[in-house]
Symmetry: C2
Subunit: 531 residues, 2 copies
């Protein structure tokens, strides 16, 4: 290789050379720049270089967007103050534990009665592997993560209108759908019906791939036998000794699968955000905001309900009252304001920004959503049904049952996510009292797990559209609205700019809140340093 | 409902009634007996009722089969003694850590140089959710389990003969194969080529399902755009603020996918044994055998190489020598013998059993297999490539790279499974010295991770066909051989019977060893109590 110029080297040889000379991370970055791996979008800790010359920033809201801004701006030399409506940091980064109480719009107060160590994340509950910003903050702030199991082949898919209402194991629907699709395509390929669509060369490979992937027999049919049971499971599992012989299970016909509608749920683990490996913080999602609070908690003033945000050419002034008692308004000023208050709430505040930004704030609708947590006396889903984590989906109004992805095999109690639903179902739930919502979630769940009736002992229900400080789950951009308003919601409007999941292309995700905040403070810093 | 007879009730109503009256586990068992859920094959702790009247059992081998038998037989009142070749319990339930040394056939000695806390499981490394027996023993013995991640959408599939040798993300191949298959089948369905195969009624549902499942556009094509990128990932991920707009990535054509052969690897997570949720013991697989040793370790005599097993109408006598020094043979007798010595080794021992059992033992071939563990200075697969656990597959002789499913996001060192391969590749590896095997595994792995060259600092290689006490990975039954010999290997042959993964329908799995042992001791106990 010594005499050869770079032009005659293979890309791989070039990399090996770079690797040998300059260390592995250089080699990896070279590989990335040669387009051999996808570049991540978040490039590691933000660098705000240059002197802010004593500038001050008022941050409204101590959710993740606000906390990230407080941390990074203070580190860069800004004077930072944060106003927060709640008595805690985190916003939707929130975990409910025994002893917590929560009062929703209209005054319904719920007391969480979970046993010590158990919790519900009423807001976000998962961290995708490609949400690099939040994963990096977890690492930097010492938040310990554990795997979150989204797809569980032994959980159920359930339709009240199919299979006599009997829940089906995910693995049955999954294997039989794949097998059915593979058989159909293989048959039509063999009958040369695909000849216009597939080259002759690919025909044999396609058949081979369908056979392996679909668990087809040698004649390209998907049917009862060890092939199909090797995917869907057996009536009697292979085992040891004289009783070890496996007994195959009978597949469900593709006709029945299609009519059942349960195929709808097969896709969820393939979606970029729900692919393995997902994570969750050990102990609850709010371990993240608590970690931020250790760094910047001293800059946060709690119980502040912002009523007005005014600006002139020199400063921004926010007016706030005590969130619980009201009372006399207080004012606080700064050179700049980063406002992370959700648009749903912000639209009701006296806000001094341009018409286009006002329009954007007013145009953005928020989704309705509800989560119900249910405490069970024992982990019956594990003990009776071998379901360890993951999700069961149903067409009942509770939409899903989430099994805890932690404390596996515990002999004590456990908390299920008994309902997580959006839109009309969410409104129907919240038309009831919290107590009745929990009762409903039990009623629905009992159609899948009859053990519910005896085992569920208490619960708590958070309907996001009834949470006073957000009035919805997340910003629900449509393509049309985004085209019209997104650029305006991102602008630096005089001395005010906005951040949060609603100022992102991944609404409802914490990564959206964080990257939106990082983008906003980068632009603000640019303005301050250059201006 | 009160006036209706059971005959007129729906099955579900019946269950609800049972549930209300008799508690949830009764309801669940009723549901199971009504065929609404699959029954598990292992029904919980074995019950050996009846008096063994002082009978003694000599157990040969302190792997999981032997340990389970020792535990349960002693609990049932038997006098139990175990002879073990090694200086430790567990057999293939084995974990290598820094400071351990291992000598293979031919005298090659390796010293494991891993840092504290790091390990390689050279044998079994996964526990499927339906391996109820081993999971139950883990629970009973207090072995803490954590999730094992098999499929990682961000790991690689690699062929040295495709894509210029460039590894492909699993999610790309997965999404593009599904998309390609869905598009083909949708097209031919729309062109009415499937009309013989699919009823008119199903046609529309099939199209809808293919569209959703395959991420097809409205015209049923799979192509570059937000639909396909919502599965395979983006060139620029959606993000926050002014730089948030996602940039779609370009799918690979189905033609290229088919020719690459990488579709072969898409099936692994669908296989019953590799489906979510898999587990591993925290700290290494040998936590299981260590837990057994806490219960029955006192019954085990170590360093015993069995040279003969003789029986008459009254007792069984085993002869053994010191496994290291040889020396004078010792004899030990008992009423019965449960022999868990692998058939590969047993066939070389002077064994007093019937010709059919001899034939069975001699007929059973063992698989060759090798695992190589590699210690890296840093977790570069996580830090540079966002790969958290799971497996990368390759057509290179190392076959796969397994990323540690524990200690995620650690800033210290990590141990990779650098090779896990069977058959000819395994023989080729072991034709080399252990040091050369490690070098080879690094060479192969560096074609996928160029960081290898700088980051891998030591390794250890276990070729199972060169492990003195097993001479292979696991019993490799063929259908033909099983038909001929399996019943004979399961028989109670005078006063001798066999157990282990090789006496099961799930060879190579610990569940096979345990259920084989439970089956054997049940039959033995029956004989003792009744006889």
């Amino acid at each position: 290789m010594s005499g050869a110029g770079i032009g005659s080297m293979s890309r791989r040889e070039l990399l090996m050379m770079i690797g040998a000379a300059a260390g592995s991370s250089v080699a990896y970055r070279a590989m990335a720049s040669l387009d051999m791996v996808p570049e991540s979008d978040y490039k590691g800790p933000i660098k705000l270089e240059g002197d802010p010359k004593g500038a001050s920033v008022l941050i409204l809201g101590a959710g993740l967007a606000g906390l990230v801004a407080a941390l990074e701006l203070r580190k860069a030399g800004y004077k930072v103050q944060v106003l927060e409506y709640n008595q805690r940091v985190g916003g939707r980064n929130w975990t409910l534990r025994g002893g917590d109480s929560y009062t929703e719009l209209g005054g319904f107060e719920q007391k969480c009665e979970f046993d010590p160590g158990l919790y519900l994340n009423p807001g976000p509950w998962r961290l995708p592997y490609h949400h690099n910003a939040i994963l990096d903050y977890c690492k930097r702030l010492g938040v310990v993560l554990e795997p979150f199991n989204q797809v569980n082949y032994n959980a159920y898919l359930h339709s009240s209108k199919a299979f006599g209402g009997k829940p089906q194991r995910y693995r049955h629907i999954q294997a039989d759908f794949n097998g059915g699709v593979a058989e159909l395509l293989a048959k039509s390929t063999k009958q040369k019906k695909m000849d216009q669509l597939v080259t002759k060369e690919d025909r044999e490979i396609l058949l081979e791939s369908l056979k392996g992937w679909g668990a087809l027999e040698n004649d390209y049919t998907y049917r009862m036998g060890l092939e199909s049971s090797g995917r869907r499971g057996y009536d009697h599992d292979p085992n040891g000794g004289t009783i070890g012989k496996p007994v195959p299970s009978k597949p469900i016909s593709i006709d029945e699968i299609l009519k059942s509608g349960l195929w709808r749920y097969l896709v969820h683990g393939h979606i970029y955000e729900f692919q393995t490996t997902l994570f969750q913080p050990v102990g609850g999602m709010d371990m993240i905001s608590k970690a931020f609070a250790r760094e910047v908690g001293d800059a946060v003033r709690f119980n502040c309900k912002v009523t007005a945000i005014k600006q002139d050419g020199h400063k921004v002034t926010a007016t706030y009252v005590d969130a619980k008692t009201g009372g006399a308004p207080t004012q606080v000023s700064a050179d700049w304001c980063l406002c992370t208050i959700p648009a749903s709430v912000l639209s009701q505040i006296d806000l001094d920004v341009s018409a286009p930004m006002h329009d954007a704030i007013n145009a953005l609708p928020y989704e309705a959503s509800i989560k119900v947590g249910l405490q069970a006396k024992r982990r019956f889903w594990e003990q009776d049904e071998s379901i360890y984590g993951g999700v069961t989906f149903t067409d009942l109004p509770n939409n899903m049952i989430g099994y805890p992805n932690t404390g596996y095999f515990g002999s004590g109690k456990g908390v299920l996510l008994g309902a997580y639903t959006f839109g009309p179902n969410a409104y129907e739930f919240t038309a009831l009292s919290p107590q009745e919502r929990v009762k409903k979630a039990i009623e629905f769940g009992a159609q899948i797990h009859p053990q519910y009736k005896d085992e569920i002992e208490n619960g708590i229900a958070v309907g996001w559209h009834r949470v006073p400080w957000i009035l919805g789950c997340a910003g629900a951009w449509t393509e049309e609205k985004r085209k019209q308003h997104y650029d305006n919601i991102c602008r630096i409007d005089g001395r005010v700019l906005l951040a949060g999941e609603h100022v992102s292309y991944i609404p409802a995700w914490q990564e959206g809140a964080i990257t939106s905040s990082l983008n906003a403070i980068s632009r603000l810093h640019q303005r301050v340093v250059n201006g």
